[in-house]
């Protein structure tokens, strides 16, 4: 992974010192809360319902075990012994004290981490494919590009006060695991006819109140030009984005208002003007960045996995986990292992300090010291030798980290909701809990197959409900929590936006409604068809009829 150079080390320490001084000025009254707010936000510090919340950047979702242990230590020393992994591959602490935050940032800097630009109207942490570098379907490794974007965007002086927040995601694979269509800029690495790798650049995607899928701006930007191209997009947005109405301020609205062609023309004009400038990269720089992400030395001639050697009382559970929670690896004899953070015991995406420490130990022992965070709020051990999977599984199982539900209904994305968030209208963790409790039969979950359930506690859509096969949106109706159900969304290559199927239902009805919808699917599906495909074939009608059969 990337190792900081002197400038990176220095700048992160200088940020800590700057923020320490800002906190001091806030505490002694020299800064008003109004003046402090945008400063703390650019350091990922929100004021939540009960306390501050600190969001720490995990650049494109990659962690060393040293970093993961430090995240555990921070949770233990300065928070309540757990952290929450987010859809943008970051981690959030829900209970830090303002006066402790500078020390937390110093502890992060010790392991080359920070909370820079994890909130505020600036360029946020760049996200990517959690299987980068190990996926079999990879065209090119997205991580060098991500790191170039991370450095370019870190303390970019021109783009710290954009009309609204700005999120970039990069994928280098055929199957998009980074939800690029739901981002302000989405980048897909592609190969042109000459076999050269370049970037297809999309812009104007986003969820929130007005969900929009990103538009293709340029199908092939040379990698040497990529930073100039992104800078051109940001400059057009910074100058022309709506600053009067925060609900119209995202770039998606600008792209819609201008029209894709006019937006593209404006970007190309700016790009042409700056293309030969200081941001132009040469191939030496690209190659140098790539060396940080060179593949590790994978062992060859490894013994095969032999599930038959497992005792009878373990084998079925192991095989379930093997099937659901592990994925093809580029190298022969290895698997990618997903660690589900969707156990019935904790809110989706949460991990305790003890679990983080354990995973760090296991990653050292089984995965060449590397851990990834996924958009689906799970963790990944990217390099596990197949024949050692039973040992790893046993260790995970002992700590409730082997829930074999990856990709199923209960592997849901869920925002913190009313339990923590000051913006929320309704609880989301409680709904997730009631669904996990209702659908606890693994055979039934597997029978339902691939299903993406996404839950948000308000229209800001942190739980990405618009792009769930099934989306649930919490709303406030006469001071009661109600839930809208939408169907048919997707965040991957077949990206689409879900549609609300009918009136909102009270919280206690949500599992019943889901059950009715899923029962309809099981009855109506053809062959191996996924829920999403059945919905696309049949439309909302049969699902709607089933969902509202009891209460029209």
């Amino acid at each position: 992974m990337y190792q900081y150079d002197d400038d990176n080390r220095r700048i992160v320490r200088e940020r800590v010192a700057q923020f320490r001084d800002q906190v001091r000025r806030r505490l002694d009254g020299a800064l008003s809360e109004e003046e402090f707010r945008p400063l703390r936000l650019q350091n990922g510090l929100y004021l939540q319902r009960h306390a501050y919340m600190l969001r720490v950047a995990i650049p494109y979702g990659i962690l060393s075990t040293t970093q993961l242990r430090q995240l555990a230590l921070i949770a233990r020393r300065w928070d309540r012994d757990y952290g929450h992994f987010t859809t943008r591959q970051n981690i959030q602490y829900n209970w830090p004290k303002l006066e402790d935050v500078p020390d937390i940032l110093d502890a992060l800097a010790d392991v080359e981490m920070h909370a820079i630009q994890t909130s505020g109207n600036c360029i946020r942490n760049t996200t990517s494919d959690p299987f980068a570098g190990v996926a079999r379907d990879e065209v090119a490794d997205p991580r060098p590009v991500c790191e170039l974007i991370r450095q370019w965007s870190t303390f970019h002086p021109e783009f710290a006060y954009l009309p609204r927040k700005f999120k970039i995601a990069v994928t280098g694979a055929e199957n998009d695991r980074a939800a690029i269509a739901a981002h302000d800029i989405g980048i897909r690495l592609v190969r042109n006819d000459e076999g050269r790798v370049g970037a297809a650049v999309y812009a104007g995607g986003g969820l929130g109140r007005t969900p929009v899928l990103a538009t293709l701006v340029n199908g092939f930007v040379e990698l040497t030009d990529l930073l100039s191209y992104i800078e051109a997009i940001l400059r057009v947005y910074n100058l022309s984005g709506d600053r009067k109405n925060k609900y119209k301020a995202r770039i998606k609205i600008l792209v819609k208002t201008m029209g894709a062609d006019a937006f593209r023309a404006a970007v190309e004009e700016e790009f042409t003007a700056i293309r030969q400038g200081a941001l132009q990269l040469d191939t030496t720089e690209l190659d140098r960045m790539a060396t940080f992400f060179a593949p590790p030395t994978w062992t060859t001639g490894l013994p095969p996995l032999d599930p038959a050697s497992l005792p009878d009382d373990e084998r079925p559970r192991f095989e379930r986990w093997l099937q659901r929670n592990t994925h093809d690896h580029r190298a022969e004899g290895y698997r990618i292992v997903s660690i589900s953070l969707k156990s019935p015991e904790r809110p989706p995406g949460d991990a305790t300090s003890a679990q983080m420490d354990l995973l760090a130990d296991l990653a050292d022992e089984f995965s060449l010291g590397e851990v990834r965070v996924t958009h689906e709020q799970n963790l990944v051990l990217p390099h596990v030798e197949e024949h050692r999977l039973p040992d790893l599984w046993r260790a995970l199982d002992q700590h409730a980290l082997a829930t074999p539900n990856i990709g199923t209904l209960t592997d849901m994305i869920c925002c913190p909701g009313l339990d923590f968030c000051a913006l929320a209208n309704a609880g989301s963790i409680s709904v997730a809990r009631s669904i996990t409790d209702r659908f606890d039969n693994l055979d039934y979950l597997y029978d339902l197959g691939e299903l993406q359930l996404k839950i948000s506690g308000c229209i800001n859509a942190c739980g990405h409900h618009h792009v769930g096969h099934i989306g649930i949106l919490g709303i406030n109706k006469n001071d009661e929590e109600w839930y809208q159900i939408m169907l048919g969304g997707s965040a991957t290559d077949d990206a689409s936006l879900g549609r609300i199927i009918g009136p909102a239902v009270p919280r206690e009805k949500v599992p019943d409604v889901l059950e009715a919808i899923l029962h309809t699917y099981v009855q109506q599906r053809e062959g191996e068809e996924r829920f999403l495909d059945t919905y696309r074939r049949l439309g909302a009608k049969p699902f709607k009829e089933a969902a509202y059969a009891d209460h029209p």
Partner: protein, 157 residues
């Protein structure tokens, strides 16, 4: 009035003149409207600059840059980032080498980014301490991307 210019606290008498007031002698800043209206007369004076609201583009000034000793951008609230782009464009694309001034909600914690985007003069908000604001330019000694200017105080200072 004391302002920060070229990294120092200096006395400055370049006044912003509202449209309904006559122009005094000495260095002044006028609105874009006034500049458009009386362009020829004002150009001859040689000591007249222009101030812009965030809504106003620099487009109409591009032919006059060599005659403008100063261009001032209002930051009515510092979270409006448009002047940052406009300043960079003036410096880098149009090679403007006169004074670029920020006034309004100009605070210590924005000074370094403004500097890096090409601003060299700052009317710090009246209730804030200038010496304190000047320290904001030292917050970072390195940068990870090109812009109009590097951090003014390098790592060895």
């Amino acid at each position: 009035m004391r302002i920060i210019r070229d990294l120092e606290i200096v006395e400055d008498n370049r006044t912003r003149v509202p449209d309904d007031q006559p122009l005094p002698d000495g260095p002044v800043l006028v609105s874009l409207d006034r500049w458009r209206q009386d362009r020829d007369t004002l150009r001859e004076r040689g000591d007249v600059g222009v101030y812009l609201s965030p809504e106003e583009d620099t487009h109409d000034l591009l032919d006059d840059l060599q005659d403008l000793p100063a261009i001032a951008f209002e930051l009515p609230k510092f979270a409006d980032g448009r002047p940052y782009s406009r300043a960079r464009l003036l410096r880098e694309r149009h090679e403007y080498d006169g004074e670029l001034r920020a006034f309004g909600d100009v605070l210590r914690d924005q000074l370094l980014y403004l500097h890096r985007c090409g601003f060299n003069a700052f009317e710090v908000r009246a209730d804030k301490d200038l010496d304190d604001a000047l320290r904001g330019l030292r917050d970072f000694t390195v940068a990870l991307q090109p812009a109009s200017a590097p951090p003014p105080f390098g790592a060895d200072v």
